[in-house]
């Protein structure tokens, strides 16, 4: 592969896992809560709740490393690579609305919805981490 200056570009696997996907879970009632999820392989995932300061890429890096996901870059560039990966995942994340807890909740469309026991809630997602 070459860029516009005809320089050779060599692609290298960035992560040691496959099938990376990202989701942004949003609950709007009774308070607005957002959780970022990155999933890979089969059913493996990490969740990071949005705080007032947002999500720190450092926390993201720590969290993925703790789950055995490594960036195939040098230690010096690891932080920058994590920032870029996080920005990309956030940009391409699928937004999913979920209830904050079970029972009656108001959706972002302003309608009442009864969240039954089989529905995943924001409370559960935060607890799972």
């Amino acid at each position: 592969m070459q860029d516009h200056k005809k320089a050779k570009i060599a692609a290298k696997k960035l992560l040691n896992v496959q099938g990376v996907q990202s989701r942004l879970y949003v609950a709007s009632y009774p308070v607005l809560k957002t959780v970022f999820e990155m999933s890979w392989d089969e059913g493996k995932s990490i969740c990071l709740p949005y705080t007032e300061e947002g999500i720190s890429p450092t926390d993201f890096l720590k969290k993925i490393k703790s789950r055995g996901v490594f960036l195939s870059v040098s230690g010096r560039t690891e932080k920058r690579a994590a920032e870029a990966l996080f920005a990309y995942l956030l940009f391409t994340a699928e937004e999913v609305e979920i209830p904050y807890f079970h029972g009656w909740v108001v959706t972002s469309a302003g309608e009442w919805h009864y969240a039954e026991e089989n529905e995943i809630t924001m409370k559960e997602l935060i607890n799972i981490g």
């Binding site: 009774p30 904050y100 807890f101 079970h102 029972g103 009656w104 909740v105 309608e111 009442w112 919805h113 009864y114 026991e117 409370k123």
Partner: protein, 348 residues
């Protein structure tokens, strides 16, 4: 649907639909207090709780309660009442937070409820909404989620509320009728529309009973009058002296009055039959509590109204039977005529 089943459905509807009812200002502004018979606490908790229900205790610290309130939605914060001073104070606390509708600036999405074996002593019942569930509660079965309408049927619920609830209704009546209306879509789907009318009648009756329980003046006298009237109307009830009972007398244990020098014994079943006219306006538990307060009914411990009646059968064997025990002198008619003597005179 019998009254107890209606009671359970209504309570479950209060529980599950609390957030919507609150957003419309139609929630119950009083603390619901469910009065159950002795030994029925566990069954009541099982019957009224779900996986989300939180059990709260008077020993809990404020931050713990706050956390429970914050995490709960469409469920009960259930307090199994203990007959203690702390218990009474805790009811006062719960009553105040339900009236305010929030706790520590936090909106409440779950409803506090008290379950008590018998009426709490030393607490003004004016601030609570009494619901009596008599008898064995394990026998009650209610279809799960009957009280939760599908999301797309909320318009049907709203129409029903507009149709049934009027400005003439009191705040409690509005709350109870609204809770009943939430069951309507599922009752229609299950072809049980007739049950809905029963539920409406029950809800209105429940409010009536609650109001009557706040004014118990004269209830003790009404009981004595009713007891005497029952005796006269039925052409004199059987009255037997203890301790020796014949086979026939023993067979009539649930239909007769037994006495000795100091006490009069009546079985719980017979007491319910005798008190039917009074039970139209107050619940059995309130009546028993008022009679105990007036020293007419003997109480054992804080919550037990029954005592063991010892008697000797024809073969000379001593037996015991659980009965309600009344102070004989307190049943005197017009304060003078001995009740038992009057009964005997009637029989002649």
């Amino acid at each position: 649907m019998d009254n107890r089943t209606c009671g359970v459905v209504l309570l479950r509807s209060f529980k599950r639909n609390f957030p919507i009812m609150k957003s419309c200002g139609l929630e119950l502004k009083k603390l619901p207090m469910v009065i159950v018979d002795e030994g029925q606490m566990r069954s009541a908790i099982r019957l009224l709780s779900d996986t989300e229900t939180k059990i709260i205790r008077e020993s809990m610290k404020i931050p713990e309660i706050k956390e429970y309130i914050e995490e709960s939605n469409s469920t009960f914060l259930m307090y199994p009442y203990t007959h203690t001073k702390k218990g009474v104070d805790f009811i006062r606390f719960l009553s105040s937070i339900i009236q305010v509708g929030e706790f520590s600036d936090m909106k409440m999405n779950a409803m506090p409820i008290v379950i008590s074996e018998g009426i709490p002593q030393g607490y003004d019942l004016e601030d609570v909404f009494l619901i009596s569930l008599d008898g064995e509660l394990d026998d009650i079965w209610v279809k799960d989620m009957l009280e939760v309408p599908p999301d797309n049927s909320l318009t049907m619920v709203s129409d029903k509320i507009n149709h049934i609830v009027t400005e003439k209704h009191s705040a409690e009546e509005k709350s109870c009728l609204t809770a009943v209306c939430f069951t309507y879509p599922n009752l229609v789907t299950d072809g049980m529309e007739d049950e809905f009318d029963e539920m409406v009648k029950y809800a209105l009756k429940l409010v009536e009973l609650d109001e009557a329980s706040h004014d118990t003046n004269g209830l003790a006298d009404a009981f004595i009058r009713t007891l005497r009237d029952h005796h006269r109307r039925r052409g004199a009830t059987y009255v037997y002296e203890l301790p020796t009972l014949s086979c026939i007398e023993e067979a009539r244990i649930d239909r007769a009055i037994f006495y000795n020098d100091n006490y009069v014994y009546i079985s719980c079943i017979f007491f319910k039959t005798i008190c039917q006219p009074i039970l139209q306006t107050v619940s059995m538990n309130v009546l028993k509590a008022v009679l105990a307060e007036n020293d007419i009914l003997c109480k054992r411990g804080e919550k037990t109204f029954t005592s063991k009646m010892s008697y000797q059968d024809q073969c000379g064997t001593y037996n015991k039977k659980t009965m309600l025990r009344f102070h004989r002198k307190k049943l005197n008619i017009a304060g003078e005529l001995d009740f038992i003597s009057a009964c005997k005179m009637d029989r002649r």
